[in-house]
Symmetry: C2
Subunit: 308 residues, 2 copies
Amino acid sequence: MSKVGIDLGGTNIKAGIVNEENEIIAKGQKKTFAQRSAEEIMKDMEKLVEELLEEHHISKEQVEKVGIGCPGTIDSKTGTVIYSNNIVWENIELGAIMENSLQLPVKVYNDADCAALGETVAGAAKDCNNMILLTLGTGVGGGIILDGKVFDGYYAGGAELGHTTLIAGGEPCTCGRKGCLEAYASATAIIRIAKKKMEQEKESLLHEYNEIDGVAIFEAAKNNDRAANEAIDEYVMYLAEGIVNFVNIFRPEKVLLGGGISHAGDRLIQPVNEYVKKYCFGGNRTYIPEVMQMKLGNDAGIIGAANL
Amino acid sequence: MSKVGIDLGGTNIKAGIVNEENEIIAKGQKKTFAQRSAEEIMKDMEKLVEELLEEHHISKEQVEKVGIGCPGTIDSKTGTVIYSNNIVWENIELGAIMENSLQLPVKVYNDADCAALGETVAGAAKDCNNMILLTLGTGVGGGIILDGKVFDGYYAGGAELGHTTLIAGGEPCTCGRKGCLEAYASATAIIRIAKKKMEQEKESLLHEYNEIDGVAIFEAAKNNDRAANEAIDEYVMYLAEGIVNFVNIFRPEKVLLGGGISHAGDRLIQPVNEYVKKYCFGGNRTYIPEVMQMKLGNDAGIIGAANL
């Protein structure tokens, strides 16, 4: 049997047909045009799936299930998008509507949850059933896998790992609180930190870039730029503190990092692992999970969704 | 069938026989004398259980299982006490040894986990299967119940809710990190905060107490003492920030508070609930659990242990 995974994003709707070995055997995408009505977007999601199946001569009877990963707060029990900022949806019964139009069982979870499940069934956490994923992009997304299944809270609005305090009363967060992990460990945060550092260093290589982003910061650091290296050191500390928190709660087999900043490689992953090893509760008397980069990139969301 | 619950503490070993309705039908205790060897303490635990059963004419055949709640880091899969500060144990195979001596199935979990389970089966969270317990004593203990079962991490050393950062880099914590919730939301913390406030207020009623403890602080606050009220307000904010974090992760049905400070009543519970309602991710679009005091006191640990 095949499974279909859909990754609904603010820019693109991506879909893939996934086989029993959790390989994507066909992939397609359409623009989201997020300003459209939810009905129009869902119609395009339906079309995308129908076209993919037809193109690859797969009948509906050969499809076991469909899963959708969606940004925002999702009630995964009912398949309802409670609220999503990226596509500006509120209380859309995405699961039920798609189930009706596709005539297939449909599940809906948050996109970071889907990415975490994808990495667990086919990626960097393939050997384990208990893991945490943090996506380090504009914000910080969280995915939790317990016993091989997505854990996103008993009620909708759980697994928001980016919205736990790192420094209560600190930097303002998009969620209305101050000092969330998201405000210290997102790509947005490392850019803020680097900009502050380069202001103090007139000679910093960072002044030569038109735009400061994660790539620029790690590139300048590689060229021994002090401001960039200090910014990364500070960022590593914040991110690692957040990871220690989740280890102290979940004690998972692995912690994976995804999103733009996770591509930084050893300059990020190595000091994060050192910090985590040093500060987890119980120290070397306990199991301390390795922190690794996720492996499947954008495919993780599709494979994960297909496995919901 | 009966079940036996044991609460192993630094001062006392308490045990109870629990019936199928989760009522304690018999209770007993012995001094721990924690400086003794683990063997001697375990021998006394065995004796306590044997005596209780004999006294109440319950044969071993009528006992379904035995559970032990123990402070510290417990490997609940193997029943091993990895490390406990209160009784200074390290790598003691408590479960296996007691199973052998009692000739009954024995499980061992952290004491806060047992208290959480006790409240879930028979206390303030009786109507729900997904809850969080924070014990506000010398430290801050955490218990997590998911689907009616204790969740304490995949590996030993999870569910350490007190050892998640509230203000990274802040007040030193017993665990070696700086700024853990424990350093801001324990009884120790509110005493530290109140002492600082009373230094600034020469007229504070707190100066009239020989010893500043939680009772003194809440009593002075009731008598309109400004320093005491300010200390409580600050403490409420810290505690509530921590609770918001756990709601954003677990989105449980209820959050319970235990330990000395939890007896403060409405002056604590009401502002904590207001804060939590205001700051949980997703706001009023989502379910926000009520924060309540736990109900069973010390019995929670015994009833919970009996239900492991």
